[in-house]
Amino acid sequence: MTTITTGGARPGATASPGPAAKAKARRDGHGMRGSTRTFWLFAGPFLAGLLLFVYVPVGWSFYLSLFQAQNTVTPTKFVGLDNYADILTEGPFTDSLWTFTLFALIVVPLTFVLALALALLVHRIRVARAFFRSVFFIPTACSYVVASMVWKLSIFNGVRFGLANTVLGWFGIEPVAWIGTVSPPWYWLVLVTVRLWLQLGFYMILFLAALQQIPKELYEAAWTDGARPGRQTFRHITLPQLRTTSVAVILLLLIAAYQAFDEFYNLLPNTPYARPPLVYLYYTALGQGQDFGHGSAGALVLSALITMVTLLQGRIFGFGKADS
């Protein structure tokens, strides 16, 4: 603990009339120029970095997206909106948006429901609660690279010795080529389970924190009003009380799904199917062709989409209102 020398302030405090006057005196003493200088001294490095590493790249990206820019970042051939027209009509980029949409439609609700279920489970547990919480939370320590490796080489290996195929073998089922086949698209099972394992614990913690903040009196009042514990209290007390957290969780899940890259890149080779937008952008801009024009256009379309989703969700759910 740090000791704060408030005692030393007392003699001086008797000289000044009150906290408001003190603050005013300080402001006047330093003057506007003084506090402006302090502001820039404190925030300057961050703001300069933000300008250089966020605003400049976005601006540069916009510039590049209007040019034919293969293997060069100082292009000369202006093509206007052609790059945008190309990626929005040609196929692979729009395919990647559909891949993302499908992925999000599966992963977001599934993670939401399972994370909430885990939180309710851990919340209800009395004995060894910390142990169970840790077990569900620790996969967050793993990277997608490591988890993809275990999934690809050990659990969902397409050969007989994979764990999944071994288990199927006990029931006399033939080995399944999990990630090596498009029909049926079993690779979705692999992609979804690896993400669930990695991120459920994180969202469980968010729900758990929110559950612990629900006043117990609400449940007691419901009990005296004749509400039966279980489904009724869950629907009329728990869920409404979790509203802010739920909105935050859905938003975080959507953004995380948008940014899916690691597991797709590590689980599937450079396949024409199941390529989310970031994987497409990676191969387009940094692959053989180094097509910065189309890559930049794609990145900006993606940014615009994320911004729209965020704003739309904010509008619908009033995100952040409970915060302020």
Partner: protein, 290 residues
């Protein structure tokens, strides 16, 4: 005994009714816990196995014997720059975290506490960047960083990640709630802005700084896309890039690969076990405010 009651000591209703409910809860919890632990078990099992054990036609859940000699083998294999990659990850993790905390906490403090005419406009400019996930700007960022000549360098890995609008935002929100009286007292003691910040505000915010530090370190350690983009030379690979590269390389033994993966998650598992309190606080805080 805690599993069986419908009401607790104060007669408050419990959601589970009866012993059967309690048993069901624990059954589900234990089954779920086992499912969550299987991948960790496989990692360790395969790390200490031979390739034949892993890919043998008659796969067994339990290993036949443990091969501890796999550990020196991994670190002596010249084809696998494991020690170098771990070191790079550590440097990026530590410097990146320290730098981000420094830069973003100062900015957050200024935005929350230092009076400035245009502070609001600047705050909105920071908020606007939250809408653009950094992963989406990797193409232009790569272009920028390569024009700075930072490809395959540690500064290329670290510096662009320091300026997190989200972290600055979190610090601002935190400092808004910091007791003003402490700062007033420091002022009266004759401390300037720096002095107040370093000697009063930071030491009294250790819990919050620790929480953000742990989360930032984990994010840095597990980051993949940016290190993959920027780490074009083997000498600048982080451990995640190294692992990903080995997955496709034919020369690496499969047990070595699993051991490398196990080694790569050890630091974080230790962080999780020892700093769980900060971590849970941090996740709850950043997640809900996010």
């Amino acid at each position: 005994m805690a599993t069986s009651s419908t009401t607790d000591v104060r007669g408050r209703p419990r959601a589970v009714s009866g012993r059967a409910g309690g048993v069901a809860v624990y059954t589900v919890a234990v089954v779920a816990a086992l499912l969550f632990l299987v991948p960790f078990y496989l990692l360790i099992r395969n790390s200490l196995a031979t390739d034949a054990d892993i890919t043998g036609t008659n796969w067994k859940f339990l290993p036949t014997e443990l091969h501890w000699e796999n550990i020196p083998e991994l670190f002596n294999d010249p084809a696998v720059p494991m020690a170098r990659s771990m070191w790079n990850s550590l440097v990026v993790g530590v410097l990146g975290t320290a730098g981000q905390l420094l830069v973003c906490s100062l900015a957050g403090y200024a935005l929350a506490r230092v009076p400035y005419r245009h502070a609001n406009k600047i705050f909105y400019a920071v908020l606007a960047t939250l809408m653009i996930p950094s992963a989406v700007t990797f193409v232009p960022s790569f272009v920028l960083v390569s024009s700075l000549g930072w490809v395959s360098s540690l500064q290329g890995l670290i510096v662009p990640g320091l300026f997190s609008g989200f972290t600055a935002f979190l610090f601002r929100q935190y400092f808004l709630g910091f007791p003003k009286e402490l700062e007033e007292a420091a002022r009266i003691d004759g401390l300037g802005s720096w002095g107040t910040y370093w000697r009063i505000v930071v030491p009294n915010s250790r819990g919050f700084f620790s929480a953000i530090a742990v989360i930032t370190f984990i994010t840095n350690w597990n980051a993949f896309l940016w290190p993959l983009v920027i780490g074009q030379d083997q000498s600048s690979w982080t451990v995640q890039v190294a692992l990903s590269t080995f997955t496709t390389a034919q020369t690496v033994n499969i047990h070595e690969l699993f051991l490398a993966a196990t080694v790569s998650i050890l630091p974080l598992v230790l962080v999780f076990l020892f700093l769980q309190r900060y971590l849970v606080e941090g996740v709850a805080h950043t997640g809900i405010k996010g």
